[in-house]
């Protein structure tokens, strides 16, 4: 028997009901003696966002005899299946099209033994950090300012749209001309690749702030600087974080391309070098796998930032 009191009815009733139905609870009793939200005068309010505690066995019973995979294990299981299919396919048709997963694994081990794996990963991350960081540092304040002063935005908008579709890769010759072959050229390319998306994100984030936040802020007599730090900045954070996450993905794409041409280290260099130095395709694919895994980790890190409570709100909520 579950009792749902007045306060609870306002929040998450569907969720509670869904839990109850799932757990096969026989009946639900509405406690109508409790007042609705506003009328409560005594006692402590029920905190409605606390999870409903259900006895464990009612959740886990499931249909006995059927194969049930925990939710968190499903992606891993899928990856394992794909790896197995890949291995079987390579074993049956060894046509030199692609190394198998075992070959790639030994390639990664090979790189680790030579101390190259860590070195190349660090080299790539170093370039991404600088290129992405500089772009964020310049593009976000500039974008917020342009979003705020519409006239500035109108002036600069066509220019942004001219530069934005130019692939960062098109800048490679220019980067080498300006900075020579080395870290600076790669950092510059990442910077170019990240700057315009971040600028546009910041501008549109300002446009997306509901007017009511501005008016509320103005009503309480904030100075301009207080307004920026206490209303404008917190209001754009959720959109900025999404923009940063997507742009970090771009940065990671660009660094590999940049390293193929303008430097002698990093994961991009690894791929080109493995191909040139003796058709070591196991190392080529190993490089690809490492790039993918690090990309995933970067994305997870950014996502965990988005979950920070005071960052995580959406202007679409009622």
């Amino acid at each position: 028997m579950f009792v749902i009191s007045g306060m609870c009815r306002q929040v998450g009733v569907q969720e509670i009901l869904a839990e109850l139905i799932k757990s096969g609870q026989p009946s639900i009793e509405w406690d109508l003696s409790q007042p609705f939200g506003g009328g409560r005068t005594t006692g402590t309010p029920v905190s409605c966002w606390q999870p409903v505690e259900l006895p464990l066995e009612t959740i886990d019973t499931g249909d006995s005899g059927q194969l049930r995979v925990p939710l968190w294990l499903r992606p891993q299981l899928l990856i394992a299946i794909l790896l197995a299919v890949w291995q079987v396919a390579i074993d049956r048709h060894p046509a030199q099209l692609l190394p198998g997963p075992m070959g790639v694994a030994s390639g990664i081990l090979d790189l680790m033994e030579h101390g190259l794996l860590l070195k190349y990963v660090v080299a790539s991350l170093f370039r991404v950090t600088w290129g992405f960081g500089l772009a964020a540092l310049l593009a976000i304040p500039l974008g917020l300012m342009l979003g705020w002063y519409r006239r500035g935005e109108m002036a600069i908008y066509p220019l942004v749209q001219v530069f934005r579709p130019i692939s960062p890769l098109a800048w490679i010759p220019v980067a080498i001309l300006w900075f020579g072959v080395g870290d600076m050229a790669a950092i510059f390319l990442i910077f170019v690749g990240c700057f315009f998306p971040l600028l546009l994100t910041a501008m549109s984030a300002v446009h997306g702030i509901p007017a009511v936040y501005f008016n509320a802020g103005r009503n309480f007599g904030l100075s301009s600087s207080a307004f920026v730090s206490r209303v404008l900045y917190p209001a754009v954070v959720p959109q900025l974080l999404t923009g940063l996450r997507i742009t970090l993905g771009i940065a990671w794409l660009v660094v590999v391309a940049a390293e193929m041409i303008s430097v002698n280290s990093g994961l991009g260099f690894l791929i080109v070098d493995a191909r040139n130095a003796g058709n070591r395709y196991d190392l080529v694919v190993a490089g690809m796998v490492i790039i993918g895994v690090i990309g995933l980790l970067l994305d997870l890190a950014m996502r965990s930032l988005e979950r920070v409570r005071s960052f995580h709100w959406s202007s679409s909520e009622d």
Partner: protein
């Protein structure tokens, strides 16, 4: 801190003919918007005096310019003609001495309940600020939700939070722009009771915009009826029923019917 100082200096209000201190004076107020080269008149020759501590409801058909009027009174918009003075001082911009409570999404979703109530109190010393936050958490009955974010609150709780944030800065006048308009009908009735209770203990001057006739007759000392656009004052009704009001008393029904007629609504459907 100056706005608290400012409040003290208004402690000796000018006594008008009605016996109560004159608070807000609106004289010959007109408002014309320029839209696509055409001028649209929103407010026309509004004249109104509001006494200290009075509860005035402004009703009118939707889109008539009620919100525009409130925005002018709060200083968010400047009028085309006429003047608005509070304690003899012309309104020239937004000011914490008069706070506008919005219909929806007025609270800051990135701040907790405490953070929202303390939003306008950053100039106070910490202990004083916390004391005041605790007081207004109590006033609007959000005890237990101090650390909650607005997304965890119901619509009614969010509106109470907004009222608490407004009251916390100790404003002379509270403007409420259809504050219960987005709530369900049961919550709305409860919220009226809550607002009456708060008004009777805090005694602020309140201007309350609504399109709900019952809301107006249940709460207001006087009800200002606006015409459709451009808004003109059609009539001002004095609600001479003492609080708590019996909403099935003959006088109540009489006043409500009078208002319905003023707005041009049949009271038989």
């Amino acid at each position: 801190m100056e706005f608290f100082g400012g409040l003290v200096s208004t402690a000796q209000p000018v006594v008008n003919a009605a016996g109560a201190g004159q608070k807000l004076r609106i004289q010959n107020l007109s408002m014309v918007f320029e839209r696509d080269g055409e001028s649209v008149s929103a407010l026309e020759d509004i004249n109104l005096d509001v006494s200290e501590g009075e509860f005035v409801c402004i009703v009118g058909p939707s889109g008539c310019g009620k919100s525009t009027l409130l925005n002018v009174l709060a200083g968010f918009l400047s009028s085309t003609k006429g003047s608005v003075t509070i304690d003899g001082e012309a309104v020239s911009g937004p000011d914490p001495r008069r706070i506008l409570v919005f219909q929806e999404r007025g609270v800051f979703p990135w701040l907790t309940v405490e953070g929202n109530i303390g939003f306008g109190l950053s100039k106070l010393p910490r202990a004083k600020r916390e004391e005041r936050i605790a007081h207004y958490v109590q006033t609007v009955r959000l005890q237990g939700f101090e650390k909650a974010y607005p997304s965890d609150l119901s619509g009614g709780m969010k509106q109470r939070l907004q009222v608490a944030r407004a009251l916390a800065v100790n404003p002379d006048i509270l403007y409420l722009d259809e504050p219960f308009g987005a709530l369900d009908s049961i919550t709305r009735v409860i919220m009226r009771g809550e607002l009456m209770r708060i008004w009777q203990t805090e005694r602020r001057t309140i201007l309350f915009v609504t399109h709900d006739i019952d809301e107006a007759v249940q709460m207001a000392d006087r009800v200002v009826v606006l015409s459709s656009r451009p808004a003109r004052i059609k009539d001002i009704l004095t609600v001479d029923i003492p609080h708590p009001r019996n909403i099935s008393s003959p006088r109540y029904l009489e006043l409500r019917d009078e208002l319905l007629k003023q707005i041009g609504l049949a009271y038989e459907i």
